[in-house]
């Protein structure tokens, strides 16, 4: 049931002896697999230390309450309990975590444990450490907290009123607020032949819920004041920037180590509060402490993706279907604490017009706190929510004005010959061919026969719908966009690090600053290094995981923002190129020729045209490291290279909120066919096509794996994955029983296709593509819209997640949702 159309073809690994075609572009065997298929991976919970204590957090049952007292005495009496930590201690021992926003958001005080108040159900109030996991859990129940419940705030629009305020220090729920205005929206309105107004659209709260929950094992070395954190942090560069000042220590006192991580998808970036609590406990108790997050904790008290309401969407349209832009008021609900926010307030601007040539955009953006779980940069972070808006706009406008959904997209898409394309706010879309991707998706889905299929479904009493979802995965952040939000911030550009060395016995060893959670960094790194050094990926030993002691990290090191193929591999390429240069220099010194006469091939440094004159890598390594007498004194090489890749960015124009915020843009154009049972609202996705363009594909099979995974996440978010709260702030979907993620039987048949529009801006022509832009959500909403309400009649799909009950409500009461849309035709 799975078909793959690949353009170009996927070649096999090069046979030994054949002329090397290069490993980049081949689907070579994955290095990570051997240990993982044998259960020999090392995930944080696999690591054990003698006499370690297990941490359990006592958490708030209230969504909003003052903490009147915390009494841990009964917990401490339990045999086997080693110690506790409370908010009072944290407030003395640490400083609040660094806030990114301007006032009032800047005044929020965020600590490792709740201080003075709890602000969401699950907010950790105290921590207990015990000899066994079960005892820690028992002891946590004995912590007595006296709460004074406060009114609960669960709605973003309500939060704007500041009647119930979460953070007294900020005296407002508004984390950040601003107006973005590019082009001339008023002129566009005046010019329009139709104006389509959508009163409200809502992007629902969900999370990519990695299968491995968060956690860490922390050791403290009293002699050196050094903490070692074996944990799931996927962005330790930034994690340290939060934790070190809070703990009042230098950055180097925090060593982050990980080998294997069971998925992250952005939900393992803001772990600094829990990790800081564990650091304090390890130091206080003078023993290693281990914290494992359970599933319910992850759903209630780790992180969600941003929930966003779009109000007063106004779209000027010309008679021929050209859209001129849009204006919108956006309210982003970031939950109880901003943490990585308010970056989400600008990051969407990387894709301001979506896939479209819209020049006039006005966005009034406000982010607020509510008594829900805090958010984190969940897969698709902030762009996905915005791209969903642009796709709902195209879909609803086409629907209301009777425009052909394919035609209207092609009319409005950025055209292939317009790349690199500068958007109204100065972002540069590097390359792409949206129309071609759409054509391939339509071919894969059998678009030509769709009306036949619709009739056939009707004969069985079912409503068939087809939807297109166009989206972008913008990758490699320019952190200078943070300055648009807060000019006081000192973050801009980006970086990543790699080291490559040639060891004494000729082994090539690479360390990365990135933190893979399944993205195959070891494998793709080996491909790049092998091509540069002229050997095979099997000869390249890439150390698994991340360790700050390797010194292969920088301020922004980590794995996020769809950037590994650019920043990570850019660093690898830079280091390997430098090492190659040194190897050639050394060989030329040994042979007494010019370095330009040397080539690296088949694991040797040899004189071009004279393959007999060849030094194996082992010889080079041995000469420099152990047998170096007689080498020229000015031969300045080490065969141990560290390289920092820096993407070419400028600081943005803060006044105009203008500038290039992202280096690359991968394209995803998906098509979805859905069958709805009008009697029940139950639907089934009967066909699905995904076309991806991420420039040069380093490893096609890995790229395709990411496409499959991103699609599964998107379809989950479009169907059943939604975080819903009751009036008291209890999460109603706190585990996998009620929060249904796709299982094997839930997935539709998937057909995939590829285009490779190389990026002119990146070292390898590749683009990051690990997040995807939520295309499955956009396509599903469009497919349901097509099934339920077409040609200006019937219900309007205005929410991103549409479980069966919502579809049924749309069918029962089409006029309710129809009220959301008005069309003014001139």
């Amino acid at each position: 049931m799975t078909e793959t159309t690949v353009s170009p073809e996927r070649p096999l690994v090069v046979e030994e002896g054949e002329e090397q075609r290069g490993f980049i572009g081949q689907s070579v065997p994955r290095k990570e697999d051997k240990r993982l298929v044998q259960g020999e991976g090392v995930f944080f919970d696999d690591v054990k230390r003698h006499e370690m204590g297990f941490v359990h957090f006592a958490r708030s049952p209230y969504a909003h309450a003052r903490i009147k007292s915390v009494d841990v005495s009964k917990a401490l009496e339990l045999d086997g309990v080693y110690g506790t930590l409370t908010g009072d201690e944290v407030a003395i021992l640490t400083d609040p975590f660094f806030e990114l926003s301007t006032p009032p958001g800047a005044n929020i005080k965020d600590y490792a444990l709740a201080v003075g108040k709890v602000r969401h159900v699950g907010d950790p109030v105290a921590a207990v450490v015990a000899r066994t996991r079960e005892l820690a859990r028992d002891a946590a129940e004995l912590v007595e907290v006296d709460y004074e419940p406060l009114p609960v705030l669960l709605d973003g629009e309500e939060a704007l009123k500041d009647e119930v305020v979460l953070h007294d220090d900020a005296a407002s729920n508004t984390v950040w607020s601003g107006i973005f205005d590019w082009g001339d929206f008023d002129a566009a309105l005046a010019e329009a032949d139709h104006v389509v107004r959508i009163e409200r659209l809502h992007f629902d709260r969900f999370s990519s819920t990695p299968l491995e929950c968060s956690g860490c094992l922390v050791e403290y070395n009293r002699g050196t004041g050094q903490w070692t954190i074996h944990g799931t942090h996927q962005m330790p560069g930034v994690g340290a920037i939060w934790m070190a000042p809070a703990l009042r220590v230098g950055i180097d006192k925090l060593r982050f180590v990980s080998q294997d991580i069971g998925g992250g998808f952005g939900n393992k970036i803001t772990l600094h509060p829990q990790f800081t609590a564990c650091c304090l406990l390890a130091r206080k108790l003078n023993r290693p402490v281990q914290w494992t997050e359970w599933r319910t904790d992850q759903h209630t008290a780790n992180t969600h993706g941003n929930e966003r309401t779009f109000l007063d969407v106004t779209v000027p349209v010309k008679a021929d279907g050209t859209m001129l832009g849009f204006s919108v008021r956006a309210i982003d609900d970031c939950g109880a604490f901003p943490r990585y926010e308010p970056l989400g307030c600008i990051i969407w601007a990387q894709v301001t017009p979506g896939c479209y040539r819209w020049r006039n955009v006005r966005v009034d953006f406000t982010q607020v706190c509510t008594n829900k779980s805090p958010v984190a940069p969940n897969r698709g972070y902030s762009r996905m929510q915005h791209l969903w808006l642009t796709e709902r706009i195209v879909d609803i406008v086409a629907n209301e004005l009777g425009l052909d959904p394919v035609e209207v997209r092609k009319r409005n898409y950025v055209k292939q010959d317009e790349f690199p394309y500068e958007t109204p706010n100065g972002c540069v879309y590097d390359s792409g061919d949206y129309a071609r991707c759409l054509d391939i998706a339509l071919e894969l889905i059998g678009y030509e026969t769709i009306e036949d299929r619709r009739r056939e479904a009707e004969s069985r009493g079912k409503l068939l719908g087809i939807g297109i979802g166009s989206t972008l995965d913008s990758g490699t952040n320019n952190f200078g966009q943070s300055m648009i939000l807060n000019p006081e911030l000192q973050f801009s550009g980006n970086n990543e690090v790699a080291t490559v060395k040639l060891d004494i016995f000729g082994e090539i060893v690479v360390t990365l600053g990135t933190v893979p959670q399944g993205q195959s960094h070891e494998t793709t790194t080996a491909q790049v290094v092998a091509d540069i050094l002229g050997c095979s990926p099997d000869d390249v030993n890439v150390r698994a995981g991340h360790d700050t002691y390797w010194n292969s990290h920088a301020g922004f090191s980590g794995t996020y923002a769809s950037q590994f193929a650019v920043t990570g591999l850019g660093a690898v390429k830079g280091a390997a190129d430098k090492l190659a240069g040194e190897m050639k220099l050394l060989a030329s010194a040994v042979f007494g020729c010019s370095p330009d006469d040397i080539e690296l091939a088949e694991g040797h440094a040899r004189i071009k045209g004279n393959p007999e004159a060849a030094l194996p890598f082992m010889a080079l390594g041995a000469i420099l490291n152990a047998n170096n007498a007689g080498l020229p004194p000015d031969l300045d090489i080490s065969l141990n290279v560290r390289y920092v890749y820096r993407p070419p960015f400028e600081k943005p124009d803060l006044e105009r909120k203008f500038g290039n915020l992202t280096l690359t843009y991968a394209t995803q154009i998906h098509a979805c066919v859905v069958e709805v049972d009008p009697e029940t609202g139950v639907y089934e996705i009967v066909d699905y096509a995904a076309v991806d363009d991420c420039g040069k594909r380093i490893h096609p099979q890995i790229v395709e794996g990411q496409v499959h995974g991103a699609t599964a996440h998107a379809l989950g978010a479009a169907t059943h994955e939604i975080f819903t709260y009751d009036e008291e702030g209890n999460l109603l979907t706190p585990n996998f029983y009620d929060y249904h993620v796709p299982h094997a039987l839930d997935m539709p048949p998937m057909r995939t296709g590829y285009v490779e529009s190389e990026s002119p801006f990146t070292p390898l022509g590749a683009k990051g593509m690990g997040e995807g832009g939520g295309a499955g959500i956009h396509a599903m909403c469009a497919a349901l819209q097509n099934a339920l309400g077409r040609r200006g009649e019937g219900p309007i799909v205005s929410r991103s997640c549409n479980p069966y009950h919502r579809v049924w409500e749309l069918l029962q009461n089409p006029s309710e949702s129809r009220k959301l849309v008005t069309v003014e035709s001139r």
């Binding site: 319910t296 169907t719 059943h720 109603l732 009620d738 249904h740 299982h743 479980p803 069966y804 049924w808």
Partner: protein, 268 residues
């Protein structure tokens, strides 16, 4: 995720099991554990003593009588029912068991556990009410039979009380059965289910997920309109929750009841 302290016993006979369940106030029978262990992980309930029934081979058999009556031991797993040649005498049993969760759960979860936990979203309570099954309960020194439609008393409550054990379920002969459900995802949590059975052309429909116990209806005929009217006439007051509103459940009850009856009549 982590259980409270508990004591454990693994009796070798039904008599020993019943004695243990009577002796300790906070004793609970541990059958497949696919529900109870999760309840204990959440600490929503914490029995003092777990009486593990997994050594009671007497409760695992599935027997087919010459008159077509099936006797299913309470400790028969869903997989046992699905693979049992005898159980094929009443195919709906295996068909419904095959829709429960997944292979791992089906390998351990038991028929007895499913009905005794009486989670309103379980499939077997309405199914067994529809087919008119009889439950055999053993207590200290006595054995009694309770028809399925009197067995389910409330949410998580059945006629098998403290100190008692469900030992077997007797299913009368028949083949005109149907079952329809709407679940979150394939084989996920159930929103509404309906089981139907025709005996002498007269339909019995039991609807689950709409009340504390399965709601048994006997429509005047197998016509969809008669079934739907019977459901409406029952004035159901289903719960509203994150997956469905009361209205939606009420509507689904009508639709699924009619579909189950149609299936039982041999239609599709």
């Amino acid at each position: 995720m982590l259980l409270r302290d508990v004591e454990y016993a693994r009796p070798a006979s039904v008599e020993d099991a019943v004695r243990l369940l009577s002796e300790f106030d906070g004793a609970r029978a541990l059958a497949g554990g696919q529900t109870l262990i999760n309840v204990m992980k959440a600490r929503a309930a914490s029995p003092d003593v777990l009486v593990d029934l997994n050594d009671l081979d007497d409760l695992k058999g599935i027997e087919l009588g010459s008159d077509g009556t099936l006797e299913i031991g309470a400790m028969a797993t869903y997989t046992d029912v699905m693979t049992s040649a005898e159980a094929r005498a009443r195919p709906i049993l295996g068909e419904v068991c095959a829709q429960i969760a997944d292979v791992q759960v089906r390998n351990r979860g038991t028929i007895g556990g499913n009905v005794c936990s009486n989670d309103p979203t379980n499939h077997l309570p309405p199914l067994l009410v529809a087919v008119g099954a009889t439950m055999t309960i053993v207590g200290a020194g006595e054995e009694r039979s309770v028809p399925a439609d009197e067995f389910f008393l409330g949410v998580y409550m059945t006629a098998a009380g403290p100190g008692e054990l469900l030992t077997k379920i007797t299913v009368p002969p028949g083949k005109s059965d149907g079952f329809a459900s709407v679940t979150i995802g394939k084989e996920g949590t159930c929103i509404v289910n309906a089981a139907a059975s025709l005996s002498d052309g007269s339909p019995r429909v039991a609807i689950g997920c709409v009340d504390a116990v399965p709601v048994l209806l006997q429509p005047s005929s197998s016509e969809a309109s008669a079934v739907r009217e019977a459901v409406r006439g029952a004035s159901l007051m289903p719960p509203s929750d994150v997956h469905a509103s009361a209205d939606y459940r009420r509507h689904l009850a009508e639709v699924l009841a009619a579909r189950a009856v149609t299936q039982a009549s041999g239609g599709k």
